[in-house]
């Protein structure tokens, strides 16, 4: 049984079918990428996975339980960092804890124990406006992590960053995955990022959006930066490009 799964999901907006027959599954500790061009319905899928919206057809399963249309089950990080400008970083990241009714002091204690792992040491007392884009993104990720240490949905977590910060965060993110063994699905339109960061890639294409193909990324030493220049990497990229192209011709 998969840790997280979606079964045959359809979603319409005002009669238009946006995504059709989406089925996917992620095992515990896996990192999956949802890859596709902008406007394909990736964010719609995440809204459904997180329970914010109900699908017109299909199911969302977490550890075998039906969680379709139920919020508060998985951590969801949207494209914007959405940090509250009037709260210090420590209170921003501790938000899911205080929302659950945990006392502010205890919530701060628990949150501060994770600051180092998320590269935020010494930034707890700052306000979001005092942080760089990369830092803010890490803070948003920590907040999501503190909400659910089991399953995270990340909507284009790195797309708003400049190339150098992005590479830096990629490395950090991979280390974090190793350390926490957390299960994630992330949205991206960057093929390199999808191959580099995930164990499994779902390619979305067409209109309405369907899953054009599923790819396993399973190479030795694939977590090293050199991997992005290896023949295996290029082969993988070619395969994905072909998948997208085929669907568009059909």
């Amino acid at each position: 049984m998969a840790f997280f799964a979606a079964r045959e999901i359809d979603k319409r907006y005002g009669g238009n079918l946006i995504v059709e027959n989406i089925s996917l599954s992620v095992e515990k500790g896996e990192s999956a990428a949802l890859l596709g061009v902008s406007g394909i319905g990736k964010t719609t899928l995440f809204n459904i996975f997180s329970g914010l919206e109900r699908p017109d057809h299909g199911q969302v399963l977490l550890e075998g339980n039906d969680v379709t249309g139920r919020t508060g089950q998985v951590g969801y990080m949207q494209q914007k960092d959405l940090l509250l400008p009037y709260l210090k970083i420590i209170d921003n990241v501790a938000l899911p804890l205080t929302l659950r009714g945990i006392k502010k002091k205890e919530a701060r204690m628990e949150a501060s124990g994770h600051l180092e792992q998320f590269g935020l040491t010494g930034y707890g007392d700052k306000y979001p406006a005092q942080l760089s884009g990369g830092m803010r993104q890490r803070a948003a990720l920590l907040r999501t992590f503190l909400f659910s240490g089991r399953m995270l949905l990340l909507d284009e977590p790195f797309s708003a960053l400049d190339a150098i910060t992005k590479t830096e965060l990629h490395g950090w993110y991979l280390r974090l995955l190793e350390e926490t063994r957390i299960t994630t699905i992330f949205i991206t339109h960057d093929i390199d990022e999808a191959i580099f960061l995930s164990d499994k890639i779902y390619v979305l294409s067409g209109r309405p959006g369907r899953i054009a193909g599923e790819l396993r990324v399973d190479f030795p030493r694939r977590r090293e930066l050199e991997f992005t220049m290896s023949p295996e990497f290029i082969a993988c990229k070619k395969k994905i490009l072909r998948l997208i192209a085929e669907k568009n011709e059909a």
């Binding site: 919020t71 508060g72 949207q78 959405l82 509250l84 400008p85 005092q130």
Partner: protein, 266 residues
């Protein structure tokens, strides 16, 4: 121009900008002193600044007693206005139907001339504090309700979705997101409201009452005590200014985070 002289002119310019307000006031005061000294207007109509100060000192205990009444009315009025504004804004933000239903009425309350309804309020509610408080509420709740409602509306919808996705209740979203986000626009409304409040109290007292700065004002006006008249006008202004200053202090406390950003950019 050399760099040094550029700096000097810059400094002079800054100094001018800083002091132009008080200087202008001083100039007007001088003009007033001249006008009364050379009797451009009869002395009983335009008392000299010195006379006004004398009147103020002489009537100080009386003025303070009346000011106490007016302040009490204003504070009650403000307190009720804040609560009313809060309740209205939350209701209107929560339901489009309620918003549609009451927003015409809200606007209507602001089109009614206060001077016209004040005597009615006195007829209905008597000579005590009640009609004054009601009048103050009618003038004061509106800017705050609008400020709050605007602030609620300006909250990023994605932020609310984030809270929903984290399982937050509507009440949690209100207290944790909407209210703090709406604070700056609420305080802008409060600033307008406090200056309206004291003026509202005075206007209400004109039209019926036995205590308060407005009552004092009508009495001295009827006895042609223009020096006392000016004294009480200045007192009303000073009270308004102090109240506005207090709100600004509150504003500073509530928006510390916003200034952090400025420091960061400098």
């Amino acid at each position: 121009m050399t760099k040094r002289s550029q700096n000097t002119t810059d400094r002079a310019k800054r100094l001018l900008h800083k002091s132009v307000g008080p200087l202008f006031l001083l100039a007007l005061l001088g003009l007033w002193a001249l006008a009364s000294h050379f009797k451009w207007l009869p002395a009983f109509m335009l008392p000299s600044p010195g006379k006004v100060v004398q009147a103020f000192v002489k009537d100080f205990p009386l003025l303070m007693r009346h000011a106490g009444t007016s302040l009490l009315e204003s504070l009650w009025g403000l307190l009720i206005s804040v609560s009313l504004a809060f309740v209205l804004a939350v209701l209107m933000d929560g339901s489009k139907l309620i918003r549609r239903a009451i927003s015409p009425l809200l606007v209507l309350t602001q089109t009614v001339p206060t001077i016209a309804i004040a005597p009615l309020l006195v007829l209905w509610l008597g000579y005590g504090i009640a009609p004054k408080v009601v009048l103050i509420v009618i003038v004061c709740f509106f800017p705050m309700a609008i400020g709050l409602l605007g602030g609620f509306g300006a909250v990023d919808a994605d932020l609310c979705r984030l809270f929903v996705s984290m399982g937050a209740s509507r009440r949690q979203i209100l207290w944790r997101v909407k209210l703090p986000s709406a604070m700056p626009s609420f305080i802008a409304g409060l600033k307008i409201a406090v200056s309206y409040a004291i003026v509202g109290a005075v206007v209400a007292e004109w039209l019926g009452g036995n205590q308060g700065l407005g009552v004092y004002m009508t009495r001295v006006q009827k006895s042609y005590g223009f020096d006392k008249m000016f004294a009480v006008i200045i007192l009303v202004s000073v009270i308004s200014l102090v109240l506005i200053k207090l709100v600004e202090l509150l504003e500073k406390r509530c928006t510390r985070w916003a200034r952090v950003r400025e420091e960061n950019q400098n």
